[in-house]
Every structure is written in C-alpha cells, then in structure tokens.
C-alpha cells in the first residue's frame, strides 16, 4: 500500500522537484552569486576579481549618487503609491455601475497596464519633450506662452515620471478596488441610502470598509513596481537631467554596464533587495493576518 502510493506519486513529485530545481538555479543561486560578488572588486574590463571584504558596503555610505537615487526612488514610490491608490479608489467608485457604458470604461481604464514599459515610455516622451505634443497643444491654444520643460528640470522630470507611473498603475488599482466594491452586497449600499448616510460619512462608514482589503495588494504591487522599475525611466529620461531621475535600479545597471564596477553594483543591488524585502515582509505579515481572520 505504502510503496504503491509513493511510486504512483513519483511522477508528480518529480515534476514538483523540477519546478523547485529551476527556481533554485535561476533565482536562489543568482542571488547567492550576486551576494558573493558584492564582497569583491569584480570588474570585467580590468580583469580584477578579488575579495575586498566590506569595502563596497562602506563605500555606499558616502556615495552621493546612491543617496540621490534612493531619495528619488523612495519619493517616487511613496508618491506614486498614494496617487495611484487614491485615483484607483476614486475611479472605482465612479465606475461602479453595471450599465454597458461603465463596463466599457472599466475595460479602457486597464489599458495602460497592457502596454509594455518601452511603449509607455516612448508615447509619453513624444508627449512631454520640449517639442512634444503637450507643449504643442498648450501653446497653440494659448495656455502657455513658451514650451514648458516637462522633462527638462529635475523637479518637473520627477513629477512627470510620477504622473506616467500613476497613469500606468491606476489601471491596476482601479480594477482591484472595483473587485472589492463588487464583492459587497448591493443591499448594504441601499440600506445606507435609506438610512440617509451620505457624503464623507458614507465613504467612511460604508465604502471604505468594503475596499480596505484591496489596499494590501494594490499598495504592495505599486511599491514593488516602482522599486523594480527600469524600462519606463530608461526610455523617458534615461535618468537625466543631471542624474536627477536615476532610480536605484537604473543606477545598478549603469554601475554594472557603464562603469564596469560589477562588485559595487552587486552591493547596491543587495541594498535594493533589502529594501524590497522590508516591503515584502511587511506585506506578507499583513497577508498572513488576513488569512487568520478569513
């Protein structure tokens, strides 16, 4: 009996082991290699690769570019997460109707998520550059006297990237919050209407408790997306002007592929990983708590 069962399960176990093996080889092992490299001065173009202990990590403490990139990344992450979720909630409430036109609009709202970051970057670049479509339109209707540098000053570029990312992510958050809204019986809404609960009070007492569960996933995804982000910024500003929009992810790629400093790039990558881990832990913690309540 016992032996038959394990033989019969062998195929499945093999397949599962294969999956786990692939995960170990292509995710866990690269992580370990990257960790190892972070203690070296690996530089493919100078043919150096020696252990230098914690020197890379000490260097990070005084690296101004790294500090700027972290400030930029975190500002963007927090700003975009707040904006995309606020917009998602507002959009969800607005579109939470069953009429056909609303269903069409819901479909359209998700579209930015479907396009690749490269396309998103290029489309917005044609809109936002100095000679781009936005300045073209604004100056021709007389709203602007001269073109505004949407990507041409550090602060404007930060805001522009924030807007583009919010645009991309709010498609996602809208759908998540709509799902949460729709999982709640309509009667509850009607009861609230009959009880005369309105406006902000209604939002706080009725709507918010309904959509609150959606925040976990959509806040996490927003944060993680910004932390990982590469393609949109690479296309839109390339990190400029003057490195002011160089996210940490972009800085890692530049360190590795332009400055040839693989060892140091790995060390910075470990920092980004730690940052992501903090977010991940906070979220899995929250998820587990919810699992208990369900």
């Amino acid at each position: 009996m016992f032996s038959r069962k394990s033989r019969a399960d062998g195929g499945l176990a093999l397949l599962a082991a294969l999956a786990l093996g692939l995960y170990l080889i292509f995710l866990v092992l690269p992580l370990l290699l990257s960790l190892r490299s972070s203690f070296t001065n690996e530089n493919p173009l100078r043919a150096t690769n020696e252990f230098i202990g914690l020197r890379n990590y000490r260097e990070m403490a005084s690296d101004v570019q790294l500090r700027d990139s972290l400030v930029f990344t975190l500002t963007l992450a927090v700003g975009v997460t707040l904006a995309a979720n606020a917009l998602g909630v507002a959009f969800a409430i607005l579109l939470n109707r069953t009429h056909l036109s609303y269903r069409v609009m819901r479909t359209l709202a998700f579209l930015p998520q479907v396009l690749s970051g490269v396309i998103v970057g290029f489309v917005w670049q044609t809109i936002l550059t100095q000679d781009g479509l936005l300045n073209n339109v604004l100056t021709s209707v007389g709203l602007l006297d001269e073109p505004y540098p949407w990507l041409g000053s550090p602060r404007a570029a930060l805001v522009s990237i924030g807007v583009v990312l919010t645009w991309v992510l709010s498609g996602f958050t809208t759908v998540v919050y709509l799902a949460a809204l729709q999982s709640v019986p309509i009667e509850l809404n009607d009861m609230a209407t009959m009880d005369g609960v309105r406006g902000t009070q209604r939002f706080r007492k009725v709507t918010w408790p309904m959509i609150a569960p959606g925040t976990t996933i959509s806040v996490t995804i927003s944060l993680i997306t910004v932390l990982k982000l590469y393609d949109i910024i690479a296309v839109l500003t390339g990190g400029g002007p003057a490195n002011s929009t160089q996210s940490t992810a972009l800085y890692i790629v530049r360190l590795a592929f332009t400055s040839d400093r693989l060892g140091y790039a790995s060390a910075v990558a470990m920092l980004l990983l730690a940052l992501s881990a903090v977010v991940a832990l906070a979220v899995t913690g929250a998820l587990r708590r919810r699992e208990v309540t369900l």
């Binding site: 493919p44 173009l45 100078r46 043919a47 260097e59 101004v64 936002l128 550059t129 100095q130 000679d131 001269e146 073109p147 505004y148 540098p149 949407w150 990507l151 041409g152 000053s153 550090p154 404007a156 390339g238 400029g240 002007p241 003057a242 490195n243 530049r254 590795a256 592929f257 332009t258 400055s259 040839d260 400093r261 693989l262």
Partner: protein, 422 residues
Amino acid sequence: MLRKTFLAACLAGLLAVTACSDGGGDSGGGSTLTYLTFETPHLTSTFWDNSIKAAQAEAPGVQINRITAPSTDRDAYAKQLQSSGQFPDLLQSITPSNFVGAGLLKPYDKAWVDANFLLPQGNALKGEVYIPPTNSQVVPEVFYNKELFTKAGIGAPPKNWAEFLDVCAKLKAAGITPFTLGGGDPFAASMPLVGIFSADVLGKNPNWLKDRYADKVKFSDANVVTAVEKYRTLVSNGYFDKGALGVKYADSITQFTGGKAAMYPMGSWFLGSVPKENADNFGAFPWPTDDGSVVIPFVVGGSMAISAKTKDPDGATKFAQAWSLNPANLKALIEGDGAFPMLKGKTLADYNVTVTKVFEDSYAYVTEDNTKVNAIGWATNDDALPPGLNDQFYAASQALFTSADVKGEMEKLDQAWKTATN
C-alpha cells in the same frame, strides 16, 4: 478538450525549444564574425550593408553578422555585450581604452597603419593602434546662422571670448536666442562645456589629462573652476533657451537648422546635417579663447576595432583593413557624418564628394597648423577619460545648467575619478 489543447501546447513548446536550439549554427565554409555598428540618419542600415559587401569582396569567406547599437553610445553597448558574454568580433568606432585594460582588443600591424594614414598615432594607446585612424573630427565647433547674425548687426564671427560675449548680448538684445542646446541627451548637453574646457584648460596645458591621471591636477583646481564659470555666465545671462534640458538631440538639430537660435556648439558631424538648400547660410568658428588664439578640440576617430578573442583573426583583420581603406565608405562618412578623411596621399577631390563651404572651412582647421588638443571626453587615445567619467561629465554639464555650484560639481568629478581609477 482543454487537456488536449494543453498537451498540444506543451508539445509545441518543447518542440519550439529544441527547434530554437538547432538554429544559429555555422552554415559551413569561412567564418561568421559579429560586427557592432550604429545607425544615424546618414549612416543608414543600407550604408552599412553596402560597405560590408564591398569589404567582403576583399576578404573572401568572411561572413558578417551585423549588430546595431541602440544609440550612438557604442561603448556602453559594447560593454553591455561584453559583460553578458557576447563581445563582438569587430566594433565600429569604439573607445579602445575601455577595453584594452582587460586585453580585449587586438592591435593593428604598425607598418600597415604607418603606410596608410596621415596621423598613424592619432588615436594610439601606449603606442598601439587599435582603430585605423581613418578620419577625424572637431568636437565642438560653434556653428552659426549668418542671417541671424546679420539681423543682430554682427558683421563677423567672434575671435575671442570678449567678442563672443558681445555677440551673445547683441543677439539677445535683438530678440534672438543665442544658443541651441540638445540638453535632453547628456552628450549633447555637454558640448559647451567640452568647448570651454578644451579651449581654456587644455589649450593652456595640453598634457592636462596626463597630469590628471598622475594626480598632479584636479577638476577642482582654480583655473578649471574659473573656466567652467564661463559656462555659468552663458547660462545665467539667459543665452540658452530655458527649457534646453528637455530638448532631445535630434530636436536640437531641427531647431538650429530651422533658425530658432543663432549658434549651435556641436561636433563636426553636424556638418552632415547642414541643410543642402541653404548651406551657405551656415558658418563655423572654433570655441573662442580669452586671448584669441585658435585651439582646436580634436579627435582622431576611425573605423573598427578587432576583438582579441575573435576565432578568425586573419579574416577579421582582412575585412577591417579593406573596410578602412575603401574610399566609398569615407565618402559616406564625409558627406553624411561630416568626417574629415585622414587617408595618406588623398585630397578631398579623390573621394568624389560634394561638400559645403562650411565643411571646407572646418576641414581647414584640421589641415592648418594650429594648436590641436584632445577634446575632453571624446579623445580615444591616452587622453580618454576613465570608464564612467564621461557620464559624470555629462551629468555635471546638465547640473550646471540649473546649479551655480561649479566648485561642488568639479569636486564630484574628482571623486568619481578616484573611484573609477583606484
């Protein structure tokens, strides 16, 4: 139902995997070499394909697999390919110093170089030539719009810094933006700074970069800071468009040729973009110095480097040499990319090219006897910057567009130099 389609899909997937792994094998006979190129509006993919065909005729059996860099920054892409293990066999117009340290490039035969080029050591690294010095450039020249100069009552291009400032002031007073800057692309943003640095710092001390490598001078030295302050003067006087950092390089070309500004500091490759129909409206002068002496920020470029690890060094060399000496290739580079030819024993007429007056004037700066310095950030010889420093230099140029902290930016460059070279 789902199961069947599903199994079919899995099978298809596996088949595709094996099918893919079969592809890419050598197709027998000769060797296949990868060749990294880049494309511009003038060096189109047709140009590359034709030039490759012509060179293949002289290097029988060599097959070429051409790769195109995503931007004109071939070095970044070559490094990217190198660190991901696919360094090409042939690399067009790269900066050899980036790759020589790890022994990635194979030098050319000195006798062949000496026999064929005007400046055989023009881009040599420690005496070795990794790229045939086929052509040269001036980075930057100041291009100007004659009609706009006349409109502002300016008779002749400025000869020294004081006259230059005067010209800017007159243009501004006449309601004409003095400069176009493609500040959205870092390399283009750095052009005025390359001009100032080359004229003021390198013009006075042509060995400045060698001294920098020896730690005898610094970016934060007073003379450098004073020179760079000149750029701040131009910016704070409002001689650039306020939104210049949002202008892409490609757009800056159309802005300047469209008459939106009077001057455009850019590498001599801009000569290829001078509009044919009113080419005579454009002139060029070297970036002016304080005392009016002529300093030419000069770069000897060239054709392709050869990987030291290529599996067919003989074929690669034959191909590269044939390509480098083919006048037809230089014709395209001269006409389209404003390159100044450096082949021995040939005049412009030998290339059968039609060039503009402004090209001839610019070419004169190359052939005349004057002070030539290695343009900072562009030289590919011993005066090339350490890896990553170019980006820092560009970033500093962009930063100084909005920040007045010249000393601080120069200190950052010194710091970056230290991490890049230690």
